[in-house]
């Protein structure tokens, strides 16, 4: 029973996965290499209407228009960068699912580095503090005097 349920869940997941992929043959380029290139570009472009999907994954009208545009440009022999740049120039940074590095996105990229640096700083400070505590405290004047007195008494 449980196995059957699991199989059903898996099958439905698989089916929905297949339904999501934009495999409409009429849209695809006849040349498999060019089509692969178009898909690679499309997967990095955001569908502006649905936001968290790439244009390859989305069924929105605008995504379909952009897919068609990407395929036309790929078929015309443009490089991946040129096609991406064409869309980027019109829709801005937000259209790129992998944000570029510039002064607006710099804080975004800097966060991991800042967190790491903060952690390292904390570690160093903690180290320094414990290191200071390891050695015995230096003798006070009174203790030193007592020690000297004790040593003198001894022989």
């Amino acid at each position: 029973m449980r196995a059957l349920l699991l199989a059903m869940v898996l099958a439905s997941l698989l089916a929905s996965g297949l339904a999501l992929a934009v495999g409409r043959p009429s849209e695809m380029l006849p040349d498999p290499a060019a089509e692969a290139r178009a898909q690679e570009i499309g997967r990095e472009l955001r569908c502006m209407v649905c936001q968290n999907q790439s244009i390859e994954d989305s069924e929105a009208d605008l995504a379909r228009d952009l897919r068609r545009l990407v395929r036309e440009r790929v078929a015309a022999g443009e490089s991946n960068d040129a096609v991406r740049e064409y869309v980027h120039a019109r829709y801005g940074d937000f259209v790129l699912l992998r944000p570029p590095f510039n002064w607006v996105t710099a804080p975004l990229w800097a966060i991991p580095i800042l967190v790491l640096a903060g952690g390292a700083l904390t570690l160093v400070l903690m180290r320094r503090r414990t290191a200071g505590r390891i050695g015995p405290a230096p003798l006070t004047e009174a203790e030193r005097a007592r020690l000297a007195a004790a040593l003198e008494e001894d022989p």
Binding site: M48, L62, D65, L69, A89, R90, Y91, G92, F94, A137
Partner: protein, 192 residues
């Protein structure tokens, strides 16, 4: 010697860290919910990539049955004064909401060039007969190609070009009376 006996304060403070973390997380979540409520995460608010750049050329046919001219060849390259480019469609409900604002601008003498987006000419003509025509010229973008040139999200969407044909402002979604008074009017005055 007495120094080592004192309870290590930073260590004890560390016990509060999970609580602090939870509080910070809760605060962040609350801020997110608030942001979602007043729409500051709406990507339509992201400024257009075209601001400060020359408006893309529009070479499209006029819309049949409206008796409106298409765009003159240099209508957008050097309009000589501020001009609005409005993308709309008869099938678009928010466009009906926006229309009174376009009519008001038209009555005040603001030039509006219309781009009829993915529409049928008879439907567009009927829309203008029913709600009034605010456009000086109108073209049909039946494939949505010029829309992509402008970085269009959908309809309605409005661009303000200055006298030199530079894009100064973009409004995605319907313009309300508030949009006109708070955003557009000051810009129209500045670029007049």
């Amino acid at each position: 010697m007495s120094e080592a006996k004192r309870p290590p304060l930073p260590r004890r403070a560390l016990l509060w860290a999970p609580l602090g973390l939870a509080a910070a997380g809760g605060l962040g979540f609350w801020a997110m919910l608030r942001g979602m409520r007043d729409g500051s995460y709406d990507p339509r608010g992201v400024p257009s990539a075209l601001i400060g750049k020359p408006a893309p050329r529009v070479v499209l046919p006029a819309v049949e049955g409206t008796e409106l001219p298409g765009f003159a060849p240099d209508a957008l390259a050097s309009p000589g004064g501020p001009v609005l480019v409005n993308f709309w469609a008869s099938w678009c409900v928010p466009c009906v909401v926006e229309h009174p604002q376009l009519m008001a601008l038209h009555r005040r003498g603001v030039r509006i060039l219309g781009v009829n987006y993915k529409d049928k000419a008879p439907d567009a003509a009927r829309f203008l007969t029913r709600y009034g025509n605010p456009f000086q010229a109108l073209v049909a973008d039946s494939e949505g190609r010029v829309g992509i040139e402008y970085g269009l999200y959908g309809v309605p969407e409005t661009y303000l070009l200055d006298g030199g044909g530079i894009v100064r402002w973009r409004w995605a979604g319907p313009m309300t009376p508030d949009t006109l008074s708070a955003e557009l009017e000051p810009l129209l005055r500045r670029h007049a």
